[in-house]
């Protein structure tokens, strides 16, 4: 009886393993290591010696979760590819010296499953002369979730704001793919890519607000959290899984008021009219 029960449990476990999505390979930002200076000694007022991160920001380092056996590559804005080798479990992308978006890309083909993990980061340097759209539009093998568009200055992933992605298989848009967006706060959104392989989510209002007495860095821009966008498909007997990881930030409703903004604008308009009417009286 016991052996039957055990066999049943094993069978159920096997079924669950097939049905539930596997723990996908994902890029994550690595926590800053204790005892290591954020900037090198010969840096300029907080500029890392590599000229890599924004001024004063620590040198970016990444972890590839569940990435055993994967090939990791850094794609530069000029589409140059550099193989990456981890030190321990950390990947520190080499400085390319050029602006702006770089792509961390890792891929693994194992047991009929091809997994691709991507993460985009901005590095500072001399202008590359290349648009980020060249890197987002470049054809790469396998399934990929690509930001469409990437966040840019004064326009970033934010709670309650739309975030759009494009699902691409071997460089071609993949329509009808199921796409899951999962946040670190366990919110899951599901979407389906359209004819152009595009899917748009409205990011949830779910970030945890740090307590008021929590230490703040000079670069603190309010609550921030991690999200993963995952797509999956099967073609030619190969199961493709793609994961894009990114950060998103606190929404405007947390520390902004549109209501007061409108009142301010209407108040300014009324004040302007008063000034005009006083001018009229003076002139007459």
């Amino acid at each position: 009886m016991n052996s039957l029960k055990n066999a049943g449990l094993i069978g159920l476990a096997a079924l669950l393993a097939i049905a539930a999505p596997a723990q996908a390979m994902t890029w994550e930002t690595a926590p800053i290591q204790r005892g290591k200076p954020a900037m090198s000694a010969n840096s300029l007022a907080g500029t890392p010696a590599t000229g890599h991160a924004p001024v004063g920001m620590p040198q970016p380092t990444y972890l590839l979760r569940d990435g055993e056996g994967a090939t990791a590559v850094l794609w530069a804005p000029d589409l140059a590819a550099t193989p990456l080798t981890p030190v321990g479990e950390r990947f520190t992308p080499p400085a390319t010296g050029i602006d702006y978006y770089h792509l961390l890309w890792a891929q693994r083909l194992q047991g009929g499953v091809m997994e691709t993990a991507t993460r985009w980061y901005a590095a500072h340097g001399k202008p590359s002369g290349h648009s980020p759209s060249e890197l987002t539009g470049a054809a790469r093998a396998g399934l990929e979730v690509i930001p469409d568009p990437l966040p840019r200055e004064h326009w970033r992933y934010q709670e309650e704001k739309p975030a759009a992605f494009r699902v691409s298989l071997d460089g071609q848009p993949l329509p009808g793919a199921t796409v899951l967006l999962k946040t670190a706060q366990h919110t899951t959104l599901e979407g389906r890519s359209d004819a152009a392989g595009r899917v748009v989510f409205t990011l949830p209002l779910d970030l945890l607000v740090p307590s008021a007495d929590a230490p703040k860095s000079p670069f603190d821009r309010g609550p921030k959290g991690a999200m993963k966008v995952r797509a999956e498909t099967e073609r030619g007997g190969i199961r493709y899984i793609a994961t894009l990881s990114a950060d998103y930030y606190g929404g405007l409703s947390r520390n902004h008021s549109l209501d007061w903004g409108w009142k301010g604008a209407v108040g300014g308009f009324a004040l302007g009219l008063i000034v005009l009417s006083r001018r009229k009286a003076g002139a007459s």
Partner: protein
């Protein structure tokens, strides 16, 4: 056929307005796609569909993130100052081409104010007057204060850690172009005021109120925000380098009619009097050389108009090179727009006559006027 310069300018303004507010569909979405990133006009980076960025944005960022930190912490000067010098260089390369005409012909915020003013004129709801001389004089220093304080000093102090983070890019926080261009793109989020700090609230409320106030004032005053715009001040600093210039060959009749000053949307009364003393002197000198006794009265009547003063570059700090003063000057050749020394538009009595007529017709026909006069 004579081209109506005001009409031509309106067409150029509207074309650039559409391009600068919605042009990302053509040039691309990212900063690297933009035309320059140093535009000498208020095209806003907060506008997701813009075709270019205003140069005041990088200046503030560089003061905050580069120069301020370098001043407080030291280090090599090249990486600290090079971005600012690059921005200045990029700005100047563009600026030299059109000089202050970037304000009068290209800037989307200037166009917006002129369109609101034009709409008000057509509706006939708010009477239009030039600003009083005293008001103009009181207003003029504000542009320097905004340029020095909000574009350079406060971001610099923030970068040095003296002033709080909210003052890192304070001009962008209050700039009406941010509200106008994002509103035109259907994004209302920029109107949300910051409530997490008293300073943030004060600054962002000032911004939305300034936008509301500017829109209301545009109904009765020409280009109210342009008068205090820090971009106007930045242009003023380098106006001697621009290829396009306003040049005046004054005659003794100048400063009599004041038509040029009256036509100026920025109420620059100095256009009328500029060079008049020199013109009087030129007349006297010429008369003396010819051994004639020319009375002052005769000189003032312009009987010796052909004895004109030397052409003077009179592009005022507040001038936007719109060309209206040239259009409304009745004296042949007294005012000119010159490009690299070559005349491109010269005042002419014939043009003046036609332009004055069309202006009267434009001002006369309003919706309110039609409504009042519809019975008889």
């Amino acid at each position: 056929m004579t081209i109506n310069v005001s009409l031509l300018r309106k067409v150029v303004q509207i074309a650039f307005f559409l391009f600068l507010v919605y042009g990302s569909a053509i040039v691309g979405f990212y900063a690297a796609d933009k035309i320059s990133g140093n535009l000498p006009a208020l095209a806003c980076a907060y506008d997701a569909t813009t075709a270019d960025y205003c140069t005041l944005i990088p200046f503030q960022h560089q003061m905050d993130h580069r120069v301020g930190g370098w001043l407080s912490d030291g280090g090599p000067w090249i990486p600290a100052l090079l971005p600012t010098l690059t921005t200045l260089g990029g700005f100047l390369l563009l600026f030299v081409v059109l000089n202050k005409a970037f304000c009068g012909w290209i800037c989307p915020l200037g166009t917006f104010q002129e369109l609101v003013h034009g709409l008000s004129t057509k509706l006939g709801i708010v009477p239009q007057w030039p600003l009083r001389e005293g008001t103009v004089k009181k207003t003029r220093p504000w542009k320097w204060l905004l340029l020095g304080g909000f574009v350079f000093a406060l971001p610099l102090l923030t970068g040095m850690g003296i002033t709080p983070h909210e003052l890192g890019s304070p001009f962008c926080t209050i700039c009406p172009s941010r509200f106008m261009t994002t509103l035109m793109g259907g994004d209302l989020s920029q109107f949300a005021v910051a409530t997490d700090s008293a300073l943030g609230l004060a600054l962002s409320l000032t911004g939305v109120a300034l936008f509301g106030g500017m829109t209301a004032l545009s109904l009765g005053v020409k280009q109210p925000f342009c008068r205090i715009c820090p971009m106007l001040a930045l242009h003023a600093l380098f106006r001697r380098l621009g290829l396009l210039r306003l040049v005046k060959t004054a005659t003794p009749r100048c400063a009599k009619c004041n038509l040029c000053a009256g036509a100026c949307p920025m109420d620059i009364r100095e256009i009328a009097v500029a060079g008049v003393a020199e013109a009087g002197q030129a007349v006297s000198n010429a008369a003396a050389q010819e051994g004639q006794a020319v009375s002052n009265a005769a000189a003032q009547e312009g009987e010796v108009k052909e004895v004109a003063a030397k052409p003077l570059h009179i592009t005022h700090a507040d001038c936007t090179l719109c060309g209206r003063c040239v259009e409304f000057c009745p004296d042949a050749g007294a005012l000119q727009l010159r490009y690299a020394g070559m005349p491109v538009f010269t005042s002419d009595p014939g043009y003046f006559k036609g332009r004055k007529k069309s202006q009267k017709a434009w001002e006369k026909s309003s919706l309110l006027g039609w409504w009042r006069g519809r019975g008889g």
